[in-house]
C-alpha cells in the first residue's frame, strides 16, 4: 500500500494507564494517544468523539488496558472517532459508486489493503419514472415526484450494496465509507434536492459540493456512522462523474495536454494539463448511448457492437456482445454500421439512405433490395433478423456525431489548440470500450488522428470514486479541480452552432480535415 490515507482509518494507539499522578479522563487519554499516532497528512486535524461513539470508545479503551486500535473517519479539519478495537481488524470496508442514470455500478473495497472484494451493478429504479434526465427533472416537479425519485435510487443503491456484500460474504454494517460519482441531476435527486433549475437558464445547481454526511440520513443501510462523500460537480452539466474521470486519468496532473471524452446522456469533454482545464458538454449522447435509436440499447449482452459489409461480396456480418442472438444495437454498433453504410454508399454524405447509385453492381442492388425496406412510412435498414435501423435513427446519429465533433472543435478552439497537439484522448465508458476509432473518424465524429491517440479509459466515474475512497487527499484535489476548470456553456455558444452545421456531413463539409478517410474505402 502507498502512504495515502483512506477515508476511514485504523490508528494504533497505546497510552499509559491512568494513575493518581495522571488522572486524564479515558476519552481525553484516547484522543491524546490518537493525536500522537496520526500520520503527517493528518497532523493538523482536531480529534472529535461524536456523542454516539463516546461511551463505547471510553469503555472499550479501558477494557483493552489502554492499548489497541481506533477506527476513525477522516473529515475536513477533523478526525471523528468511531470505535475502539482491541485487535487490529482484517478489513475496513468502503464502497465506491457510479450513480448512472440507467445503471449503478459499485466496488466493495477493503480500505486497509486497497483490494477490491466485489464489483457489481444494478438498474437504477428511477428508469421507471423517465429514461432520460430531462424527463426525470420534470417528474421531480410533480407531486411527490422528487421523493419518489430519491427513494428509487436509494433502494437501488441498497440493493447493490447487498449484492456486493453477498458476493464478498460481509455485512453492510461493516461499510464505513461510500464515495459516489454521478451527474449533477443524479446527485440532486439522491440528496432529495429539487433539480428544477438545472435545466433552466442560467442552469444553477442547488449544490455543487455537498459536505460529507451520514449515509443513513438518506436511508442507505451501512454502518450507522458511515459517511457519504459525493464527488463535487462543477455545474449543472458537469457533474462529479466527470470530476472523478479527471482524477482517474490524472488529467489535472499531466504535463502534456490531453483530453477526456465521456459519452453518457451528454457528451462531456475535458481538455487540459497540470496548468489548466477546460470543459464543455453537449447533447451528443442519446443516439450513441442507445437512448434514441428505436432498436438502440446499452452496450450489454445481445447488443450488436460491430458490423462489417464486404463491398466485394456484399455480405453483411455482425458481432454481438457475448455472442448472443441480437436484441438491439448499441452506440458503437450504430457508429460501426453507419461507417460501413457510408463506405458502401448505402448512405450518402448527408447520412440519407440511397437505393440507387451510379454504376452499381447487381450484388449491391440485391443487397439493397433485401436490406432496405419501407416500414411505417420510413426506410429502415435490416441489420439482423430482429434488428433494424431507421432513417430517423441514422439522422439522430448524424446529429450526435456532428455535435461530438463540434464540441471537440469548440473546446480546442477556446484555447487555440489544434487536434494534432493532443497526445492522448481518453475515451471513457462503454463508448470508449466498444467504439472503433477508425469508424468514428470515417463518420467525422472523432478527429483524424493516429488511432493510438485514442485510449479506452473504462468507467472513469467509478475509478475516480474508488481512488477517493483510498486517498483522502483527493477530496481537496477534487475541490481544486472544480475551482480550476473553465466551463464553456455550449447552449449559448454561437461558434458551436456554426461548427455544428458544418459537421452534419460525412465526414465533414471540409473533407480536407479528414485526409485518412478516402484511404478507408
Amino acid at each position: 500500500m502507498s502512504t495515502s490515507v483512506p477515508l476511514t482509518i485504523v490508528v494504533p494507539v497505546t497510552a499509559i494507564p491512568p494513575s493518581l499522578a495522571d488522572n486524564t479522563a479515558d476519552l481525553d487519554r484516547l484522543k491524546r494517544a490518537v493525536v500522537a499516532a496520526l500520520p503527517p497528512l493528518l497532523a493538523q486535524q482536531s480529534v472529535h468523539a461524536p456523542f454516539i461513539s463516546m461511551a463505547g470508545l471510553a469503555a472499550r479503551f479501558r477494557a483493552a488496558d489502554f492499548k489497541g486500535w481506533v477506527l476513525a473517519q477522516v473529515l475536513p479539519e477533523r478526525l471523528e472517532l468511531i470505535d475502539f478495537l482491541a485487535e487490529k481488524p482484517d478489513r475496513v470496508l468502503g464502497v465506491a459508486l457510479d450513480v448512472g442514470s440507467t445503471h449503478l455500478e459499485a466496488s466493495l473495497i477493503n480500505l486497509l489493503t486497497g483490494n477490491v472484494l466485489a464489483r457489481s451493478e444494478v438498474l437504477n429504479r428511477q428508469v421507471e419514472y423517465g429514461t432520460d434526465i430531462l424527463s426525470r427533472i420534470h417528474f421531480a416537479d410533480t407531486h411527490e415526484g422528487q421523493n419518489v425519485l430519491q427513494q428509487a435510487v436509494v433502494s437501488s443503491i441498497n440493493d447493490l450494496i447487498r449484492k456486493l456484500c453477498q458476493e464478498a460474504a460481509v455485512q453492510p454494517e461493516e461499510i464505513f465509507a461510500l464515495t459516489a460519482a454521478g451527474n449533477t441531476t443524479m446527485v440532486h435527486l439522491l440528496l432529495g434536492l429539487s433539480p428544477h433549475h438545472l435545466c433552466r437558464e442560467p442552469y444553477i445547481p442547488l449544490v455543487n459540493s455537498p459536505d460529507p454526511f451520514l449515509a443513513t440520513e438518506i436511508g442507505l443501510r451501512l454502518h450507522p456512522q458511515a459517511l457519504l462523500w459525493l464527488l463535487p460537480s462543477r455545474g449543472s452539466y458537469f457533474g462529479g462523474d466527470l470530476i472523478a474521470g479527471i482524477l482517474s486519468v490524472s488529467l489535472d496532473q499531466t504535463e502534456e495536454t490531453a483530453m477526456l471524452i465521456d459519452v453518457g446522456t451528454n457528451a462531456e469533454v475535458v481538455l487540459g494539463n497540470h496548468d489548466w482545464l477546460i470543459a464543455c458538454a453537449g447533447a451528443a449522447g442519446p443516439a450513441l448511448e442507445g437512448g434514441v435509436a428505436r432498436m438502440g440499447m446499452r452496450a450489454a449482452p445481445g447488443a450488436i457492437e460491430q458490423v462489417k459489409i464486404d463491398r466485394e461480396t456484399w455480405q453483411l456480418t455482425w458481432q454481438s456482445i457475448g455472442d448472443l442472438a441480437p436484441t438491439g444495437i448499441c452506440g458503437s454498433g450504430l457508429i460501426d454500421l453507419a461507417a460501413e453504410l457510408y463506405l458502401a454508399q448505402i448512405i450518402d454524405l448527408r447520412g440519407k439512405f440511397q437505393r440507387e447509385i451510379a454504376n452499381q453492381s447487381a450484388a449491391r442492388q440485391c443487397f439493397v433490395q433485401e436490406r432496405l425496406l419501407e416500414r411505417d412510412d420510413e426506410t429502415v435498414f435490416v441489420v439482423a433478423d430482429n434488428v433494424v435501423v431507421s432513417q430517423t435513427d441514422i439522422d439522430a446519429m448524424m446529429r450526435s456525431k456532428a455535435a461530438m465533433y463540434s464540441i471537440l472543435e469548440t473546446i480546442c478552439g477556446q484555447v487555440g489548440l489544434g487536434f494534432s497537439e493532443l497526445t492522448r484522448i481518453h475515451v471513457a465508458g462503454a463508448f470508449g470500450k466498444h467504439i472503433n476509432p477508425r469508424q468514428a473518424i470515417t463518420l467525422g465524429m472523432l478527429p483524424d488522428l493516429p488511432l493510438s491517440i485514442f485510449q479506452p479509459a473504462g468507467n472513469t466515474a467509478l475509478q475516480g470514486a474508488e481512488m477517493l475512497l483510498l486517498d483522502y487527499a483527493l477530496w481537496e484535489r477534487c475541490q481544486h479541480i472544480c475551482r480550476k476548470i473553465t466551463y464553456v456553456e455550449l447552449n449559448v455558444n454561437q461558434e458551436f452552432m456554426l461548427r455544428f452545421s458544418g459537421s452534419r456531413f460525412i465526414p465533414h463539409t471540409d473533407p480536407s480535415r479528414f485526409p485518412s478517410v478516402p484511404h478507408f474505402r
Copy 2:
C-alpha cells in the same frame, strides 16, 4: 452588545444573483457570502452545510433573491449553517443550565441581545434514586440504573425548558444552543456514561471534555439542530460547574491572587490568578447543604437562615427565608446557630452540648432546661417549634467546618501563600448568599480575615454557562483553564489529614489563628 460571538449566530449575507457568467451553485454561493461576512474571530472557520439543512438553505436563499440572514452554529474549526431567513430575526434563543444534583437552574437568553428572558429551576428527578452523589453512582451500577438516571435528569431538563418557554412565551424549537455546567458525575449521568470509576481510585472519568453534540441525541426537546455544550471537567471531583465558576469570577484572569469557594455536595476550592490555578475538593458539604442534619434543608423558603441568642436576656430569635413558619434549618442557619451556641457556651470548643458551666446565670439555666432536651437517646437543641438540631447534627457540622478550613489551609499551603495575601474570596451559591462570614470565622470555618474579603458570588455555575452561551471564545478558554489547573487530590493528602484533626475545635486547636474571635463574644 460587545463584539463577542455567541454560540449561535446570525450573519447578514448578500450575494450577486447567478447568471450564465457566474454559475456557482446556490449553496456554494451562500457559503461564499457567509465567509465574506464573518467576524474576524471566525475568519479561520470553514463553513459547512449539514445534510438536514441543505435543501432549505439553498431554496430559501434563492427565494429571498440571494439576500438575507444565515443562522449558524459556531463550532470548533467550523461553522454549521442551520437556516436562511429573509428577515433578521428578533431573537435567537439559548439556554444556560446548572445541572445540580438536587436542583436544576436555568436561564433563557436571547443570543442577539444578551437579554435574559426567563430564569427558573426544577427539582432533579434523580433525587428519587439517591439524594447524594455516591448513592447515585451505586444506583447507576444496578440493572438499568444508568439509563433510569439519564432519563430522570433529561426529563427534568425538558420540564425546566418548558417552564422557561412558558414564562417567556416562546417555543422550545426556537432554542438553538444549550450550555450546561455540572459536576463530573452529573455530566456522566446526563451523557448516559457509567460513573462507576469516578469514586474508585485512581478516580478517572470516562470523559472530561465532551465535544458539543446535538441536544436531541440525549432526548432533549429543542430545535433539532440545537447543540449541547458541556463545560469541561478537570477530573472526577472537579467538574464543569467549577470551570464555569472560574469563568464567572474571572479567576483565571485576575492579576491578584483570589479564591473561589463553592460548597455543594463537596466543598470545592480554587485558588489562583492569571498565571496559575490550583484546586482541590473535599467532603465538607453535606452538613452545610442540608443533606445531613435531620432537620437540615436547602436554603429555601421556610428554612431558618439566621439565629441570634441574646446572652443578657437569654432570648433566642430566628429568621426564616421568606418569613415563613420554619420547616427546617439551612446550612448557613446551622453555622449561625452553632456560632451563637458556642458564644453562649451551650456548646464547648469540641462542639459538644454542655448543660452546666461554671458560674452560670439562672437565665442560662432556664434557657438550657427549656431548649436542651433528650430525645431518642441523644441531646437535641430546640431552635423553633418544629426545628431541632441534635448533637449528631452539630458533630457533622463540626466535621464540615474542620474540612473546610483544612481544605483552605492545604490549598494555600501548596503554593506557600498565607491567607492574608488573598485579596478576594468569592463564595458561590446559596452558601455564599446566606452565610454570615463573621459567624463562620467564629467557628473557625473560614480564615480570620476582614469581612469585606468575602464576596457572595451567586450561582457561578449558571453564570459561567450563561457567559459561554454569549461568547464562543470562552469554549477555548474553558479548555485552557482545564489544562492550566493543578488539582490536589485530598483523599491521599497526609497534610490535609493532620490539618483536619487540628481544625476539629472551635475555632481551632491553635486559637492564635483567630485573633478576632475573642472580640466577638
